[in-house]
């Protein structure tokens, strides 16, 4: 399986909450020239998120990154929460 597919499978294996509207990927090098993947988790724009929501999505970011790291791919995962305007 190609590395890109391994990464997508690692993310797909997680149960994403309903707050995540879509996921997209950018495969490129990071600022130090190392292979990386940016996983963009699309959420609704929220300028006043509750502490519970921040905690939930922070934990999700970590879970996504850990899932990719444990897949033993060369690319480093950078997980971002990207806002989609309502």
């Amino acid at each position: 399986m190609r590395e890109e597919d391994v990464i997508k499978a690692a993310v797909k294996a997680l149960r994403l909450p309903k707050e995540i509207k879509a996921v997209d990927y950018l495969f490129s090098d990071d600022s130090t020239g190392q292979p990386a993947v940016w996983v963009k988790l699309h959420v609704a724009e929220d300028n006043n998120p509750s502490a519970t929501k921040v905690r939930q999505l922070s934990d999700l970011r970590k879970a996504v990154a850990k899932s990719i790291l444990s897949a033993e791919v060369s690319r480093w995962p950078y997980v971002r929460l990207v806002a989609d305007r309502a």
Binding site: D30, S31, T32, Q34, A36, V43, E45, D46, N47, N48, P49, K53, V54, R55, L57, S58, R61, K62, A65, K66, L69, S70, E72, W76, Y78, V79, R80, L81, V82, A83
Partner: protein, 172 residues
């Protein structure tokens, strides 16, 4: 209060400063402060360990010797350190695998935040959201708590030495 705690507090203040839609400048500075919070935590811990017999001025000199790029390279290895894969044969025998979760987590956060800081400071096209920035800050705060529980273990000492000496201490 220590510098790293002040910096993560500053990050949270900046991220929540604006009513309604936050200014990008405040979110970007929040990301930068969050990165420097992790950086200064590791530098302070490293200088205290390596320079344990030095006075404050001596430890300050040791602190200046840490470099961002080398620290990132080291943290990339420790974040994935469930086995000795990726470690030089001169260093691997000094460690016990898997490396403790707290060391892996602070390493992962360091790499993540360094890249985020780079984007926040230099990529004017990137857009930051309050939710994203607060989630990053929360992960830094979590890593601080985890680090506290593992900082005394032998692997943590080796990790701190590795952060400073990566380029040279593998020499035969």
């Amino acid at each position: 209060m220590s510098l790293h705690k002040d910096l993560i507090g500053q990050a949270r203040s900046l991220a929540t400063l604006d009513k309604g839609k936050p200014k990008q400048a405040n979110l970007r500075r929040a990301v930068s402060s969050a990165y420097y919070a992790v950086f200064h935590l590791l530098v302070a811990e490293g200088a205290a360990t390596i320079g344990s017999r030095l006075d404050a001025a001596g430890r300050a000199k040791v602190s200046r010797a840490f470099g961002h790029a080398d620290m990132k390279e080291v943290c990339r290895a420790y974040a994935k350190a469930v086995s000795d894969v990726g470690f030089k044969p001169e260093i691997a025998p000094l460690l016990t695998f898997p490396v403790e979760d707290g060391i892996r987590e602070v390493s992962q956060v360091f790499v993540e935040l360094q890249e985020a800081r780079h984007s926040a400071d230099y990529d004017v096209a990137s857009k930051w959201t309050r939710l994203d920035v607060l989630a990053l800050i929360t992960s830094v705060e979590d890593a601080f708590i985890k680090w506290k529980s593992v900082k005394a273990v032998p692997n943590a000492k080796i990790f701190l030495f590795d952060l400073l000496l990566r380029r040279s201490w593998g020499r035969a």
